[in-house]
Each structure stands twice: as C-alpha cells, then as structure tokens.
C-alpha cells in the first residue's frame, strides 16, 4: 500500500492517477496510523511554500514526516520541504537536508522555470534504474535546492541545481514524474519497486 500524503497539494490528483496507471494500491490520507503502516509514502507538492508548511503543522504531520523510516518520495515542493529553510515565505522545513532553498534569478532566466529540462544522473540510484542520464522531465518551479552531498541528479537553469536527492529513506525530485510522460512513470515505478 502506498500512502499519498493529503495536505491540499495541487498535484495530488495527478500523482494518484499515475500510481493508478502503474497498478499499485494507494490511499490519499493525512492520518498518522495509515501513513505509518504504508509500505511507501509519496509526499506531493505544488503551491506556495509557507501555506503548505502551515497546513502540515495544522495536520500535525511535521514531526511524523521527520521520523518516518519507510521510503518516502517528495515531489517538487515536497522535496524542497526536506530543507532547513524555505526562502519562499521564509519558513522552516523538515531539516532533513542541511541546506536552504534558493530562487532562480529573473535577471538571468525566465522565472518560474516552466517546461522540460534535461536531468543528469550524477550517482547511481535505484530511482533512476533504466533511465538514461540526460532524459527530459517536466519542471514548474521558481525555487530550487542547491547542490549538496545528497544530490543524485542535477539540471541546469541559470545555475546547476539538485533535480533529485536521496538521504537514507528520503528520496526527492524537483520535477514532476506524474507529468513527465513515460520516463516519469518509470521513475515512480522504480520508487515503488526498487527503493
């Protein structure tokens, strides 16, 4: 059973549709008991950071997310919330990765980054099993996680940033696998079957 964390994230329905296509059983939930019992957890995320974090506090999910030991995949804002601090709205994240998010500079590039960008796989990881380095995935973000020791894949947009991270059971992708065609479905399948 896959738990998709329900906290009002904009891409929840699309993530659920993708998991359904893969044929895996899932539940969209914010109940502690259900999340703890799930084999895998998906933490979606689209929207504004400070209101998302506020919602997680209201649902009492912040501490639970920190201590989970089952594999968890954070998507887009879900991955950014792994950080210490999110500069969008200046709020504290989960502190799983000891770094703060940054914003693309509109003096250099169009912000938000909207569209398909190449993802370079920098370190072998089950998440990218069968996916070649340099494939396109769909991004929609103004903020990013800088390179750090948990970066497993990078993309370039103004700067080189983390397009995927992995620390212990925490996996994160900045792009939207649920909107990235066949490669995206393969990545979600890898998370479910191999991580």
């Amino acid at each position: 059973m896959i738990a998709i964390i329900d906290y009002g994230a904009g891409n929840t329905a699309s993530v659920a549709n993708a998991i359904e296509e893969i044929g895996e059983k899932f539940e969209i939930t914010n109940r502690e008991g259900k999340i703890c019992k799930a084999d895998k957890i998906i933490f979606p995320g689209v929207g504004e950071a400070s209101s998302a974090v506020r919602k997680l506090h209201m649902l009492n999910l912040i501490n639970l997310l920190r201590i989970l030991n089952r594999p968890l995949l954070g998507i887009c804002l879900g991955m950014q919330i792994f950080c210490n601090r999110l500069i969008e709205g200046n709020v504290s994240g989960l502190g799983i990765i000891d770094i703060d998010t940054e914003k693309f500079k509109s003096a250099n590039v169009k912000v938000p980054q909207m569209g398909w960008n190449r993802v370079q796989v920098e370190r072998e990881n089950p998440l990218f099993s069968g996916i070649e380095s340099g494939e396109y995935f769909y991004f929609a973000n103004s903020f990013y996680v800088p390179l750090n020791k948990y970066t497993i894949a990078t993309s370039e947009y103004d700067v080189n940033f983390s397009s995927a991270v992995n620390k212990n059971n925490f996996f994160g992708v900045q792009f939207h696998p649920e909107k990235s065609g066949k490669n995206g479905i393969l990545l979600l399948r890898n998370f479910i079957e191999r991580c």
């Binding site: 904009g10 699309s14 929207g47 912000v111 938000p112 569209g115 398909w116 929609a140 649920e178 990235s180």
Partner: protein, 251 residues
C-alpha cells in the same frame, strides 16, 4: 537548459472537441480524450483546452472532462474559457489540470491574478492576452476578440507579470488563421520587458515560422490549433525540423 515547447490547443464545447475533427483513424472524432492522447503520443509538450461552452451546466461538464483527461494524459495541460474566480480555479486544478488560463476576467478584475498566484502558485496561472495591431501599438481585446479595451498590449503584459502570472499566452487576433507567421518584432520586445515565459499563438503557417519565433524572437513556446488539427503538420515532423535547425527540443 529548457526545451522549447510545442503546444496544440483544443477547443471544446459541451465536453467535445469542435475544431480539428477530420483526423483520420479516430474512433470518435469529437472525443477530447482520444485527441489528447494522440497529441501526447505524437510528442506534444503540453496541451491547452479552451472551453467555449455557453450553457449553464458548463462548469460541471468541464470538470468532468478535466478529470477524464487527467486520468489518461501524462503531460501537463492548461484549461481556459470563462474562468472568473479563485474558487473556480481551485475546482479545475483539483480535478487534475496543471494550470488555468485567464483572459477576460483578469481584464475586468486584475486583482484575481494576485489572489490566484498567491493561493495556487504562479506556475498554475497563465495570463491569456488577445491583441490586435492599432497603429504602431497593440490593443487588448476581450470576449474572444469581440470587444476592444483601452489597455495597451505591452503595458498589460508587463502588468500581469508584475501581479504574479506564471506565463503569458499571447494571441494576435488579426494574425490568427492567416498563416503569415508570428509577429516577431513584438515577441522580441515583449521578451525583453517581461521575466516570465511567453507562449506565442496565432499566425503560424509553416515550420519556418516556429523556427523564427524560437530563434529570432527567443519565445519559450508556440501554440497552434488548425495546423495540427487538420493533419497538415505532424508534431513529430515539426520537432525533427527544429532539432535539425539547432533548436533545443524534447523528442
């Protein structure tokens, strides 16, 4: 860097596609789902659905369509057509759309851009702007190009950007359907003035027109309807052409 995007646009009425229904080999030519799947398979980077239904039940039919499309399509899609409030946007996004495009409603209530981009994030809000040339400048039109406003095209584009829109979908009403190419001069000028991505629409007649928009005017995406619908141009062929010309394109 980001790939340049090719976006087919589907006009839907009462849940059915009304333009571009002479595709061959379709089981149900008016099925939005089947056309969407077909474009997605051919390599479309995104899809836009423009709802032109005028009836009272409009919203329910549209929501139902969005839900069905979201079930089968694994690329981003935008929904537009008569969306007036933040709550309507919420409903459409929850049904599975990635973005909404707003046109007449933001001319009437510009604050809707600020409100919606704060609530849903800029990436979900596309400002659709229809312009017609008026002397050396451009005037903004609303209600499907029927009504002229007092807004200047370039100033309005800058304003929607400042208010928090995530993208501009710019349509030249007088170019639409003419197949004479995009207005490169205006596109280039606009690209220098705004800091958000621009989708150019209206006027493309051949592959060179797309190339010029990407290469000369540095636009981020091109949207077309009739050209793809009537099978005159295949998305795959267009993409190969652009790659051969050195444009960054996703295959």
């Amino acid at each position: 860097m980001l790939a340049k995007r090719i976006i087919p646009c589907l006009d839907v009425k009462d849940g059915r596609v009304v333009k571009g229904i002479n595709f061959i080999n379709l089981k149900d030519a008016g099925s939005a789902i089947e056309l969407a799947e077909r474009y997605s398979d051919e390599g479309a980077d995104e899809l836009v659905f423009l709802d032109i239904t005028a009836t009272q039940e409009k919203r329910n039919i549209l929501i139902d369509l969005v839900k069905q499309v979201a079930k089968v399509i694994r690329i981003p899609f935008t929904v537009g057509g008569g969306i007036k409030s933040s709550d309507e946007i919420d409903e459409i996004l929850k049904a599975g759309a990635d973005k909404v495009s707003l046109n007449s409603s933001i001319v009437k209530t510009p604050g809707l851009i600020d409100e919606a981009s704060k609530r849903f994030g800029s990436q979900a809000i596309v400002a659709a702007i229809d312009v017609k040339k008026s002397g050396d400048n451009y005037k903004v039109y609303v209600e499907g190009g029927r009504k002229e406003t007092s807004l200047d095209g370039l100033s309005w584009c800058i304003e929607v950007c400042e208010r928090g829109a995530g993208e501009i979908l710019l349509t030249w009403m007088d170019k639409d359907g003419t197949r004479s190419g995009y207005d490169l001069e205006f596109l280039k000028k606009l690209g220098e003035e705004v800091t958000i991505p621009i989708i150019a629409s209206g006027g493309a007649g051949n592959m060179m027109h797309f190339y010029e928009a990407f290469h000369k005017a540095e636009t981020d995406a091109c949207l077309a309807a009739g050209l793809f619908h009537y099978g005159e141009m295949k998305i795959g062929d267009l993409k190969s052409f652009l790659i051969n010309k050195g444009i960054e394109i996703r295959l």
